[in-house]
Symmetry: D3
Subunit: 281 residues, 6 copies
Amino acid sequence: MSQALPDLLLEALIRAALIEDLGPSGDITTRLVIPPATRYRAKMNAREAGVVSGMQVAAIAFRLVDPTLTVTLHHPDGSACAPGDVLMEIEGLAASILSAEQVALNFAGSLSGIATLTAAYVAEIKGSPTRITCTRKTTPGLHLVEKAAIQNGGGFNHRFGLGDAILIKDNHIAAAGGIRPALEAACAGASHMMKIEVEVDTWTQLAELLEIRGADAVLLDNMDTPTLQQAVALVAGRLITEASGNMALSRIAEVAATGVNYISAGALTHSARTLDLGLDF
Amino acid sequence: MSQALPDLLLEALIRAALIEDLGPSGDITTRLVIPPATRYRAKMNAREAGVVSGMQVAAIAFRLVDPTLTVTLHHPDGSACAPGDVLMEIEGLAASILSAEQVALNFAGSLSGIATLTAAYVAEIKGSPTRITCTRKTTPGLHLVEKAAIQNGGGFNHRFGLGDAILIKDNHIAAAGGIRPALEAACAGASHMMKIEVEVDTWTQLAELLEIRGADAVLLDNMDTPTLQQAVALVAGRLITEASGNMALSRIAEVAATGVNYISAGALTHSARTLDLGLDF
Amino acid sequence: MSQALPDLLLEALIRAALIEDLGPSGDITTRLVIPPATRYRAKMNAREAGVVSGMQVAAIAFRLVDPTLTVTLHHPDGSACAPGDVLMEIEGLAASILSAEQVALNFAGSLSGIATLTAAYVAEIKGSPTRITCTRKTTPGLHLVEKAAIQNGGGFNHRFGLGDAILIKDNHIAAAGGIRPALEAACAGASHMMKIEVEVDTWTQLAELLEIRGADAVLLDNMDTPTLQQAVALVAGRLITEASGNMALSRIAEVAATGVNYISAGALTHSARTLDLGLDF
Amino acid sequence: MSQALPDLLLEALIRAALIEDLGPSGDITTRLVIPPATRYRAKMNAREAGVVSGMQVAAIAFRLVDPTLTVTLHHPDGSACAPGDVLMEIEGLAASILSAEQVALNFAGSLSGIATLTAAYVAEIKGSPTRITCTRKTTPGLHLVEKAAIQNGGGFNHRFGLGDAILIKDNHIAAAGGIRPALEAACAGASHMMKIEVEVDTWTQLAELLEIRGADAVLLDNMDTPTLQQAVALVAGRLITEASGNMALSRIAEVAATGVNYISAGALTHSARTLDLGLDF
Amino acid sequence: MSQALPDLLLEALIRAALIEDLGPSGDITTRLVIPPATRYRAKMNAREAGVVSGMQVAAIAFRLVDPTLTVTLHHPDGSACAPGDVLMEIEGLAASILSAEQVALNFAGSLSGIATLTAAYVAEIKGSPTRITCTRKTTPGLHLVEKAAIQNGGGFNHRFGLGDAILIKDNHIAAAGGIRPALEAACAGASHMMKIEVEVDTWTQLAELLEIRGADAVLLDNMDTPTLQQAVALVAGRLITEASGNMALSRIAEVAATGVNYISAGALTHSARTLDLGLDF
Amino acid sequence: MSQALPDLLLEALIRAALIEDLGPSGDITTRLVIPPATRYRAKMNAREAGVVSGMQVAAIAFRLVDPTLTVTLHHPDGSACAPGDVLMEIEGLAASILSAEQVALNFAGSLSGIATLTAAYVAEIKGSPTRITCTRKTTPGLHLVEKAAIQNGGGFNHRFGLGDAILIKDNHIAAAGGIRPALEAACAGASHMMKIEVEVDTWTQLAELLEIRGADAVLLDNMDTPTLQQAVALVAGRLITEASGNMALSRIAEVAATGVNYISAGALTHSARTLDLGLDF
């Protein structure tokens, strides 16, 4: 049962987004037009079905603009929503709510979109032990919240960046002079708390990898499903297996049927459609 | 003929994205596996056709990681690319190129996606004086580069945020007690260098607006095409007209045929698909 | 009826000013000399008449140094004050009040000085529809609060910076090869939410400008009053008119009498005298 | 012979001022109107006589916007200028020069104004050993450059903030229960590298102070000139003497004639008029 | 009786340390393993005797991670602790306490180590008027809190950095061409609120220094005890004397017996052992 | 063969340390005393034997203060030094070198101290396959450079923070209701690229752990050497073994003889003595 990230990790990026949107002088329209004492009870509504993410982020956005706003969360991150569901209510000064509205919605909509697409992948392989995971193809600077959205959708995270796990790819292998020297160099320097995965593109590479100690996982890159199946069989549980490359939703079920442990899809973050959310007053 | 933004405005967000991706300890795989003196001449290639954006951003990313890298730009932001086109070459230490690779690609791919979708909208109405414009439904924190991508695709920007122009929406009208008091309040306080647009949802509202002085533009929200056509005719050039709401690509041509001045589409930023780019060595 | 800016937009600059003044080790005198539990009820007093600005800023300064201080505002930003008026009371730990005192006073004094000078300009043309506006000659980094001080004094803001409106000046005209090409280039690329003003120094330039479409406003630069009068008559309401250059207080009434829409004066921000305020215990 | 501050200490505030002025999208006018390859050789000219300050700051502003600009300094900070003098030349892309122009001028104009007013104070007492010094009434956040401007004008700095020296004022004395307990508390905790000054408002306080050890300097606050003269005589060189309060330029000569060591004037920073500088192309 | 620094001066560095330790995704172990509603009452215990510092810092760390935690301080900074003493109690969500635990302990342990070592130096010369002071050999970036730890241990601070006092060292003397020109240059430019100390390495230098006016203090560098004694006698109270260089704890008593005013030891900050503290639940 | 971290990851903390030390006004002594054109060729010398770290950091410090300084590195990070060895030469303006000197030395001295102590641990078990690793007991904010110093000394890094690997400690086990539920919860949510280690304090816990799948490593906490030997034998290679708690240098050889894979020691970072380095001119 996953808990929320500390607000401390999220505030800087949300503050930056608000300042960007408030621009040189804040919400000038609201300042000129809305009577200062006007209060709203606003509802953030889902306008289509999906899986909710970004609620913590949206709540922080409202609080940063005005700590006196009261935010009541009805759908926590990771819950499913139906059209018309009230996800969150915000009560307080109209000017404050309107000033934070778009940033809150932009975050919540795009993160819920990621969670929803992830959930679709997960649903496609319901009952299978295979897990869905993201890649490093995230929106620059929004990595942290997009990784959380993947979890909200029932998926798993891959490494967080270049610094927390080792992934030996084709360029590394070429520069090191082969899988063996690359893997040996990695093992010689890696922390015992850091996992090592090796990307293989061919049958030969996979066979070579299986003869060497030190890897925890193998990334089977851009293989068709029959090849994947053979690869998984060859690995036979000696390494964690991850299938990657063109993992369209339509293909996920057959890939999972190969028994591969993880299916990673960049599409989860770079091609998710924004979930349609709105703020109603 | 548009020039580039000063790097000064872009560096902070690119630096933050790099630090996020480099994580606690930098590119550990490359550090352990690639011989330190290894040099690459890498090519950023288009793997599909589109309109390029994010090249300046990508070049800054490579430079921030290593000022000794040589970056040669072949396709400037705003140019069209075909599959296989070399957009940019980067020459220098392999470790530096690999450390910046993903951030550069994530920026360039997503921004080129926005430029490409914008270009598709623009192409749909080729020859028409109607202009395509974005909305405020941008990725939080990436506002600046996404607005540039819209321009690269041949589109126009809307206001940049809440602080640089006045857009009186339904909530403002309701709180102020009608279009007239809202518009009068805006005019009473607005800078003479700030434009005022009023959103109208109904025929009655439009008629009311046309009787009042002070607005520069009218946002015709969520109207079907015949209604739009009547509205544009009614306005008769007295205000800049903008059509918004459900402006799917398939519908753009008929909307433009109404003679509306601007068509704004949130989809340009929130629903663009990443353009497939790759770095090859 | 103007509302306050969100504190979010102001806190970073106030925090930086406090940290600058607190220096390497905080208020060492107070720390060594004042018994820790000492409490004050301090009054911020006006020592001369004027228009108050910077009260919100001062209140944030006290709160940032010590959130347990109680700040009671008696004169909101934009109100007039007489000598001896209590503008604000602050109650709480003496050490906290003394640590924030000078920064709060420096902000409030200089911003009230701007508001007071603006009010003097506004008073000079009482009853006239002409409006007083500031320029971009603001204190670097304090732009936001100085623009608010202008409003507090009854003036209007000009564009906020280089990025929110188009002002075509002599250099632009020279580089573009004339007013027409300059204005056409601006119109071809400008957002429909961005206004365009053109600076003219001569009668010929003004005549040329009036023959071209696309400008919203004309800046009549460094003209004597009779010339201004003729220029305003020539424009005849087709463009917003702004008079600029040597707009000393003594000359404002006669300039306004020309019927010009706006008078802009750099002096409002770069030459305002600090209003004398003090903190008494 | 004073050297420049390291750029490192100045860049953050100059960068912030540039980003503030460039606003959401940079210099849009220049971007749309000026042909990209246009180059300028611009001259920063003095339009009136004074003492120059802010040249280092202005040079950094141009470099931060575009490191390829060539800046040639003709009048270093601290030198006198006559109307028409060329202070600095900047050569390079027109777009870059125009983007930094106003921030560079705003800094240089206001800092040269402070240096010029300081030089007027210093000139008033030419030949006297008395020194002119500033106070803590500086522009929030611009403390560092304003202190340098004071030096450029021939003045001396007071303490830099609350943390680098001890100044026991009326409130401290009241809270501590008298000058003696206040001074003893300060001496008991102060670093041996930190000076201690005590503010006295009355003759009794001064007499009391002179009987106690530990102070380095005495601030003679708000005294008329005859009283100051008596006070300086009474101190008789045992403490550094500083006269403060209503130190208008017209009064400086007679105050210096009392033999006081330092005359401090808040007016140097809070009431200096901007020196008229311009950028010509 | 010294009061605490304002939290404002400490929060940025504590926040940075927390974000560093929370890493890309926060406390993943706690998030996955600990039931979300679990609450703790944790005690920070001393596991050895010493002098406490860093309690304010630790309390801020807990608050930054979770403002709803209740922190009760039992041993204020500067108090002595015995093994087993409860220094602080923290009550609230287990996840929050565990997320801040290590940063709080790392700060408190290392700062208490500095305070404890300082107290040992102070105890060594109990009853002597000689004071113990730190140097500039502090941990980069932690200067502020380490200086406070010195005070908590009963020591005194030296200058805070290069900018708040003048210390003329061997290189300055060599470059200026002797003590006299160096000191005269310093006096000619120094603020009257800034002290001047001169480092001397030899008897000749000391004699030269005593013939010149303008210094407040002399740093007697790397002298053996008999030489120090002679030097102190020669100075005869005309300057503050400071002994520096190899001031090991074992030697402090005999150095103090020379009557020197200050003994400065880099070891206080660069060689203090962490005090053993733990958090128990 | 490890390469350097990108400067990008290090600059922010080095810049902050320099700004802290330069204080409110930079190196005032040098500015007043040293003739501006004075140039130095300075040598950073080792005054005792050890292993060098912090050279990249020191070089960045000199460059940030003055990009025109020429820094020549003679002893790269990770190399051994003897007393008198020249580690680095810096040539350029004296004022620049003096302004950066202490920060460069403070970093280099403390990091070389960590590398040297690590090397002593490593030397103690020369020939053994056991590896020495650090803990999370690092200096707040300096985590990144201290981790690199551990590597420079021949040691290995543990996890970088709370976010990049899972370490289930006593509190987690208690809150989850035992090792099995804790480990199951961790496995259910962990990324496949994240390792899981479990801390055991007792024989019973170890036996329980060995019956459950999912852990990669076991931390044997605070065991005496015979118990450790039995524990390692019981694990029999099924998990990576790490010995922690009271791992004094004198005890390392016998601990390594148990065959444990890793020995982790907080002392490497929290108790290393600064290596004596100096800058000579």
